[in-house]
């Protein structure tokens, strides 16, 4: 703040001196108005009182600093001269608007005051100048109301009562039906309300009106609402708000007037054509209110060819200046165009990609800038089916859940995995509805077009599996009551059955009744171009989480540079495998366990061989068995009986084993490397399968690069012990297969237990690599079970205790501290330790940015998020230098 600033910055034809002054001094709106003015756009002139004055106002005990009003008066004179109008003039009065405007857009601060400058005399003057009594008195009564309400704190209701009396007198219903005479009476009534509640007359002096309004704007900086907003958003170090005083223009001054909003390019497709709508003889609020139907700007030449041409010029000027598609507001007052607002325009993912590429072609931006211009998540729309916007807008929303996996799905309800498979095979499009899904449901999930669960969150089983497949999923829709037996759901009073169709919006989490029209994704050449640029600038690698050759191939097509997480447990759920898995679990001694594992070995080997082939010459991180064994046993008596038949034992044996394995908190139970400690033979089978698969690949000239990852390590001793076992098994397998070549196998661990991060220096001594399992790390750092978080997380988000679901975006403050500590401590032991992330956060842009900043080597995410992660990684590299 060393630089000396003026207190008031003027913008207009006379002079514009706020350009280049920081947003922190003149606010966002002030800078924008100055900027537009300075590039020659027809902006109604005015001036900005700086945020430093606001700070001075507070330092001064909530009084305007000395001399300010004199300076305001002088500036008003300049404005009067430029416009040829005068404050309070009986013929051509100057009217202004007063608005707040801090450096950051901030709801909760003061509303706008319009028509400031009117008083009894000026209103007559306005009536004369516009030749419209009704218009003038309507403007006046609005000023008294707004001023009374916003500046003096009179309840809006008080004015309503007065208005109702006038309407009753004239026997009309709508405000607009009150004649000019009635509005004149209303102004008097409003002044009486004003006097009654303030004890003073409504200030006739426009300068007094202005001074009070400026104070009110400054005062609104510290209302409870504004303070709380800043607190929640973490907005700090702002001086205060600026005040913008700007000449009024009116689009409702007759058929030669009008108002409109437009985009400089099509926000849906990105096509370079002027796109928007306008209304003749109307104010801006009429366009927004939607009472009258506006016309497309393409039709404007029929109404006023010159203005249309001028607007096309404005479009070019703005795009040349901002090098970005703009969203503008304009008003035409008696045939003259005024620009009121311009800002970067919102657009679809498709448009974002096209516009970014086009702007490069037009030499307005460079490749790096283009990469920064596309929000990574917007790519989802290019990769997954979406709803037709119009149809979506009219859809009947039944309820909302968590937007667990994006996309659009339409289908009939099925209530079990078997049913979903059968009906899908019979040709139906199916939405699988479950309380929560488990590995047993995987086949039914695969058969369904979308998945709906009533419990669980963004990292529940359903969500993780669905995202992996790019399949739409709404999770934890608590309003859905499922009656599996009756094959019915109840949702907010409606009952739906197997024949009913619903539509799921995985992007918003909404559930809709009936079939909403969808559209398929289209991948353009622009998309490929943008991805090429992203790959050019990013420094982090992007891998994928994939458990099958099919998923691996898909991810590689999406640009994955290896597998960051291959979960081996999913491989055991197919019917010809699960039986051996279960036999293994039921085994009472090691030899029996080994016999069952021997039968699983060929399956595992085949899976790995396929995956290594799909990922030829790319690293594949294989996580050894992770879930607790009870997850593989059936819990229902019927299923237990069936299993007993298959295995040739008693259902009671299965129940007994199931009870013995039961855990109060399986998340914190006997799983991960703890299984390998008690049952080393499971680890041996898996490592043998990996090694044999790698040997087979070698024979086929396929370069397998497995990275064996030991999960859930909490102390270095677990890793040192198991590492030795892995090494011994690799050596034994090579010897048994008489393989004498070199295999590229490394051994590392997942950092997902807080203690592993805290002691990463010790752990790193035994690890070739680290991979942060931020799902579990988040669970344990917060103490949130991701399966149960639905019980309170919505309240937490609603009450602003959490800004986002920490399972969706990495909590950089808490969990991130452990990640950073893990990286630093790990590399303090091994300077070049390879470190990645394989939690669900690996495909979330803000988390990818964090990963870049703490120095990870790669992120890994589900196949469909690979392009998103590539783009996010590029943005992180460009933004963080």
């Amino acid at each position: 703040m060393a630089k000396k600033h003026k207190r008031i910055y003027y913008f207009g034809k006379t002079k514009t001196d706020a350009r280049g002054v920081s947003k922190s001094i003149v606010g966002g709106k002030g800078l924008n108005l100055a900027e537009m003015t300075s590039i020659g756009l027809p902006v109604p002139p005015g001036f900005t009182i700086t945020t430093e004055v606001c700070a001075a106002y507070y330092e001064n005990g909530k009084k305007l600093p000395e001399g300010l009003i004199d300076e305001v008066k002088k500036t008003v004179r300049i404005l009067e001269r430029e416009l040829g109008k005068k404050f309070g003039d009986a013929n051509n009065p100057l009217l202004v608007s007063v608005r707040s405007g801090a450096a950051v857009s901030m709801p909760g601060m003061m509303n706008t005051i319009l028509n400031l400058g009117l008083n009894d005399v000026a209103t007559e003057g306005l009536a004369k100048a516009t030749n419209n009594d009704r218009f003038a008195y309507d403007a006046y009564r609005r000023l008294i109301n707004m001023f009374g309400d916003v500046v003096m704190g009179i309840e809006h209701h008080e004015f309503e009562v007065a208005f109702d009396k006038v309407k009753a007198k004239y026997k009309v219903k709508d405000d607009t039906e009150v004649p000019a005479e009635g509005l004149k009476e209303l102004c008097e009534a409003y002044k009486a309300v004003y006097k009654k509640h303030t004890g003073q007359n409504f200030p006739e002096d426009p300068i007094v009106q202005l001074a009070l309004s400026i104070e009110a704007v400054f005062g609104s900086w510290n209302t409870d609402r504004a303070v709380k907003y800043r607190e929640i958003e973490g907005i700090r170090n702002l001086l205060g708000t600026a005040v913008n005083v700007q000449a009024m223009v009116y689009g409702n001054m007759g058929e030669d007037s009008g108002t409109g909003v437009a985009f400089t390019r099509d926000p849906n497709t990105g096509q370079n054509k002027f796109y928007g709508e306008f209304l003749v003889n109307a104010q801006g609020e009429d366009v927004v209110a939607g009472i009258r139907t506006p016309q497309p700007v393409a039709d404007m030449p029929k109404w006023n060819r010159a203005i249309h041409k001028e607007l096309l010029g404005v479009k070019k000027t703005l795009e040349d200046h901002y090098a970005e598609m703009q969203d503008i507001e304009f008003t035409i007052e008696r045939g003259k165009l005024y620009m009121l607002q311009t800002r970067s325009g919102k657009r679809t993912g498709l448009a974002a990609v096209k516009i970014a590429c086009d702007l490069v072609k037009e030499k307005l931006i460079d490749e790096k800038e283009a990469v920064l211009r596309v929000p990574p998540n917007a790519l989802t729309q290019l990769l997954l089916p979406s709803f037709n916007a119009a149809a979506r807008g009219k859809a009947n929303v039944l309820c909302s859940g968590i937007n667990a996996s994006p996309g659009a799905a339409v289908g009939k309800l099925a209530f079990t995995a078997e049913e979903a498979r059968e009906r899908k095979d019979a040709g139906e499009s199916i939405i699988l509805v479950r309380r929560e899904t488990s590995p047993e449901d995987v086949d039914g999930m695969s058969a369904a077009v979308g998945i709906l669960t009533s419990t669980g969150g963004a990292t529940s089983h359903a969500a993780v599996v669905a995202r992996g497949w790019g399949k739409c999923c709404v999770a934890g829709a608590g309003d859905v009551q499922i009656d599996e037996k009756a094959k019915k759901i109840k949702v907010n009073g409606k009952t739906l059955g197997a024949k009913d169709i619903i539509s799921l919006d995985g992007t918003t989490g909404e559930v809709m009744l009936g079939a909403v029209e969808t559209q398929d994704p289209k991948l353009s050449g622009d998309f490929a171009k943008l991805m090429k640029w992203a790959d050019k600038y990013r420094t982090m690698a992007v891998r994928t989480n994939a458990d099958s050759p099919k998923d691996s191939k898909k991810a590689r097509d999406f640009g994955a540079e290896g597998i960051g997480l291959c979960r081996t447990e999913h491989m055991f759920f197919e019917p010809d495998r699960i039986i051996h898995m279960r036999a293994m679990i039921l085994a009472e001694d090691e030899p029996t366990r080994r016999a069952a594992l021997k039968k699983l070995l060929p399956f595992q080997r085949k899976d790995f061989e396929g995956i290594f082939k799909a990922m030829n010459d790319l690293p594949v991180t294989v996580r050894l068995l992770d879930p607790p064994l009870h997850e593989f046993l059936p819990h229902e008596p019927a299923a237990q009986k069936e299993m007993a038949n298959e295995l040739g034992c008693k259902p009671a044996d299965i129940k007994k084993r199931s009870v013995a394995l039961h855990e109060a908190n399986p998340m914190l139970g006997h799983r991960g490397c703890r299984l390998s400690i008690t049952y080393p033979e499971i680890l041996e089978m898996q490592v043998q399968a990996i090694t044999e698969a790698a040997i087979r690949c070698a024979a086929k000239k396929i370069k397998a690069r497995p990275e064996i990852m030991i999960p859930l390590v909490g102390t270095f001793k677990e890793l040192s012990l198991l590492r030795k076992q892995v090494e011994a098994t690799i050596a034994a397998t090579k010897a048994a297969k008489k393989f004498t070549g070199k295999l590229d196998i490394s051994i590392g661990t997942m950092i997902e237990i807080p203690r592993a991060a805290l002691t990463a220096d010790e752990v790193a001594e035994h690890a070739d690599f680290f991979s942060f399992g931020t799902n579990d790390l988040t669970q344990m750092t917060f103490g949130y079970s991701r399966d149960d978080v639905g019980g309170f997380l919505p309240d937490y988000i609603e009450q602003d205790i959490l800004e986002v679901d920490p399972f969706q975006a990495l909590d950089q403050t808490g969990v991130g501290q452990l990640v950073e500590m893990g990286v630093q401590k790990g590399r303090s032991t091994k300077k070049d330790l390879k470190v990645g992330i394989c939690g669900e956060h690996g495909g979330e842009p803000s988390s990818v940015d964090f990963c870049h900043r703490v120095g990870l080597n790669y992120v890994s995410c589900s196949p469909f998020r690979v392009p998103i992660a590539r783009l996010a990684a590029a943005q992180a590299a460009i933004q963080n230098g």
Copy 2:
């Protein structure tokens, strides 16, 4: 290592120069021998080769450093001169023992070699000198065997075979029956074995024997076993082992010889009287082997009054020197006393306290030293019933579990809480046996003398409740299969029913068949004296975890200086309360919930009033409701039906609510402050009850000092929000009660979520105090569910992955890092933030020491551990300065 050391230190009458040399140079044994010699005790002379020589041996490529053997020879000459004996002498040969001895006692290193110096000539000499052929050849054959085995690595079995042949020849069974002639032949046979396996003759030159033995000792420093032992124990920075060479003495040279072990005071009672036993004409190993029954030392005057008197002198010399009760070994060779060993003697808790106090009285130590002399956990024996040692030794141990709460309990088995209560009321002594206990079992646990569970660990519900009451508990005894219906348990093949008696040793975790005799605790005046000293020197306060006025009073009697954790949930389980609690949980809207809570209010207020009264003028930390609501609902259909009857609703409603509240991982679910966020009315009721109780106390001149603790905070926003609610409720309650005085109520939080520790700087802004909940913090930092840890923790301990159960002793490396971070970050925000610990670790000495070192203000533990914590805190203060 700047100081230049000798390579060999002699001890004997000639000279003793190792005194004052560091243990790290001469080893523990070497220093001890030098020390005893230097204070004039009759120690067989000898010398110590330093650890530096060991290091040099390894540096030298496993060769003895140059000139060492020459130096050894010279030192042997000194020894020969002092004793008037000669190596290999045909009339009076010098015999020595060779032993390893590092700075730290270390199993896994070399065994002792005895009788070194014997060869064919010297054996004849020994036979002459002792006039005992058999004795001499027995010594010789032992040397060849030991030397062959220990130094040359010949399997012991090889010698056995040769011995068996000789025994067969002489047709005897026992070694001792072989005549001198046979032993002579055996020596020849042993030499043949030696030659066969080493290819060399047994070395006749004593110096060669000695040189090889010294190398063998050095070599044993780096055997796998020794290396692994040091690795596990974290023993680092040692140079190597020293070698001790010492003249042999024999207690088996006739009726004027003997050997014994003794304590300088009674190790059971601490009484200052010489205590021990001896055997005439025997070697030390005979006393240990227990073949002959030794006589008490009190009877020694009958055998040799002079020696007894000399021993009493030794006792005084040793105690004056070491200022500590000693455990000694001695041998009398032909009427001459030799001291072989002295060390600090093991003793009971009772003895430890008495000896410490007596030594102060005798001016041998000061108060601080006395405080350090008693292991805090030894106090348990003074506070709880224990088994009669003799009876305990003979007990039939059925199985082992986790030593969850110390003490001794004997009773008949009961299988449900109701049964336990009924039979106890009918006069039986009951052991309650449950798979695991839940709050519903509390009344039955209270009725039982001891608790046995088959799952769960040291911080399971059963363990925590039992410890709080000082009641014996063995938890997680996995071998116990409970059939609740049949009222039977199966334990390792035995089946026991309701009429069978078992005994539980809560100190070791063992379960014994039948009634083992117990003894009641006795509190002596010495105990009070020691506690007074402890309180004088400690700087940390000691509070207690107590939930009732009764426990509070008990804890105060034990010296508690307030309550560090008052759990409020236990208060809801009594029959007249649980019904309202359940009605609250079943309520579908806030008004119904409030109505039920209103009925709970008077109960809570009464509890708090009682506790505040018992803790008059001491702080009472009240934790707001913590467990998930489903813990309060019955899970069995019968109980659900009963509850439905009581509440006048349908069992289906209860089942439905129970299902809705079910959580996959309740530990990480909707509990702690998360309940207050969703149901603020629960918090309001509790705070209102606390405030009203404090107001009532004020009227009775009782000074209530409640500290309201908000549990499970993970982000500062939870605390800032709830703090405001607590403050508002206090204010509203004061207003409603028209109380205008000052209440001493503070508001803080439990730090038990890793994220709270990581962000303690933010959390501290809203907290008056922190209390570390290290139970949950351990669960989340390790990712261990304390209810399920029994599935793998035993394997972890057995395989040395963990040294101790982290729920018993705080894991200083991992969890401790978070505690330290929490303290530092918290105090970086609030310099004087009061910080305590209320996890189960608060009463565990090594954890208390840690708490002292990181600067906690207090520890809190169950009432029976308060004296232990007081003593541990004093030791921490004294040791850490």
